[in-house]
Every structure is written in C-alpha cells, then in structure tokens.
Symmetry: C2
Subunit: 130 residues, 2 copies
DNA sequence: CTACACCTTCCCATCATGGGAAGGTCAAGC
DNA sequence: GCTTGACCTTCCCATGATGGGAAGGTGTAG
C-alpha cells in the first residue's frame, strides 16, 4: 500500500503521514525499491489511532503518549485514565472560555439596535477605558 | 510615552505592538529623534480596544474590521451587530466541538477502572477499527 | 512509447506570540 | 565626564498542525 492508499484508508492526509513520521510520532514504514513508502495494515491501524486521538483534541505530543500506552500491553489503566481526565479538564476549560466570550459578546449585541444608526454599545464597550 | 509604557498602559506587549504596527493593524506612531516609538493617549486607547477585541476572541483581522467601524463615526450599528453575532456563532460552534470531545472522552474514562490492570476501554475505543 | 496519476524531497505560508542577539540611547549616580 | 543598567531598535528563529506547490522520479494503462 502506498501513502495515498494509506491516507485514504486511515483518514490521515499523506502530508500529515509524512509529518508524523518526520517528528517521530510514527515509525518510518518500509520503502519500495524506488523509495516509495509502503504501508501494511498495522501501520494503517496506528494511523487511525492517531486520527481518533487527534479528533478527541489530543495534541500530537499527547497522542504520542497515548500511542506509547496503547502499545505497552502492561500499562496500568490508571495512567491512561489520568491522562484522559486531565485532557477532559483542559477541553472543558477551553470550552468554558469560549462560551464566556460568546456570552459577553451576545450580551453586548443584545443592546445594539442593529439598524442604520451609528450608536453601538458593542463598540462603545470594547473601546471604553474601564 | 515609549513603547514599554504604552505596553504597560494598554496591556499589549511591546512585541505585539510592533507586530500590530508591522501588519498594518495600527498606525505607525511618531518617532523620537533617536528613532524610539512615541505613543500618546489616543494610541493607547486604540491598543486597549485591540486588546479587548482579541480577548473576546476576534482574530487580528476581525479586530481590524472592528477598528475600522469604531473609527467610522457614520457606521451603521447593524454592521457591527452582524459581525458580532457571526463571531458569537463561531465561538459557540468551537465551544460545542470542544465540549463534545470532552463528553466523549469523559464517557470513555468512566468505563475505565483506573487501577493497575492494563484493560482500558479508552485505548480500546481509540484504537478500534469501527 | 506516451500520458497520467502517483510518489519523493524541499521550501513556504498560515496565526499570534515569544525568545533572543546585536547594537543604539537615555538617565541616574559617582 | 564616564559608567551602568534599563530601555529601545531591527532582525531572525521557534512554536503547532496543516496545506500549497515546485521540481523531479516512478509506475501503469493504453
């Protein structure tokens, strides 16, 4: 399987596969006689793992830790759970921050006429010196 | 006022002030005879506006649009409100995405013993081929 | 044998921010 | 007047994750 098929099969773009290899997240695959990267099913499986971890918001570095735990058959589940819950806390913190911004702005907008007149509490507030 | 004082007074770092100037978000300030940037109160006011817009999650580019509206005394408040509500929607979308990740992961973690045994539904699920 | 789809590496761009080097400036204290 | 230390200048580099694209090699179908 060439990189294009591996990308297709894993949902990770070819660009990203090369990048993950370059930074050491994944193992360099075999190469064909002409230098093409050659992937087998286990590689694709790993790539899918990476894609799922990324889609759960883990950074590439965190994904590397998860991958190490995944490959270590003797890991303690508490280590995984700890990592996961720490990440959950970070995600929720970021979500809360975004929602606070949204709430503030929505509140400001609710006081704005939204017509042709120039008066606008949104700009007034952002520009106020308080 | 030199850049350090302007940074102090506005809450925008000196590095960022120079950057905002470089990309054209803010006007280049006056310069002293020796080339130091010299800021007056209106400049600081603008910097505070920028800081507040950024803290509400507006990108630098969006902040530029807000700044233009802010300076345009004849703007229509509907334009501001439209921009603001569009941004609110984006913020809420991002927040929801993060919360969905957190919820998924929290759910997986709730099924993980979190002890010394290696069995871990979190890794199982991330690594599953479904 | 040609055409086309694929592969390779390499460089660049994004977005917002910080770090740091090399060198100039200014004010305070001796 | 001279030194010292805190400031300022510009310039380059790094981050994190991703994509774009160029230049050139490969593989296969017709």
């Amino acid at each position: 399987m060439n990189i294009g098929q591996a990308a297709e099969a894993s949902g990770v773009s070819a660009k990203m596969i090369r990048y993950y290899e370059q930074i050491g997240l994944i193992e360099p695959p075999a190469r064909s006689h002409s230098g093409y990267r050659v992937y087998a099913e286990p590689n694709v499986h790993t790539l899918r793992f990476v894609r799922r971890a990324r889609s759960l918001g883990f950074s590439v570095e965190e994904t590397g830790s998860l991958l190490a735990l995944w490959r270590d058959r003797s890991r303690a589940s508490v280590d995984v759970k700890t990592l996961a819950l720490k990440h959950v806390a970070e995600l929720e913190e970021k979500a809360a921050a975004l929602q606070a911004m949204a709430a503030t702005l929505r509140h400001l907008a609710s006081h704005c006429h939204g017509d042709q007149r120039p008066d606008c509490p949104i700009l007034d507030k952002i520009g106020s010196s308080n």
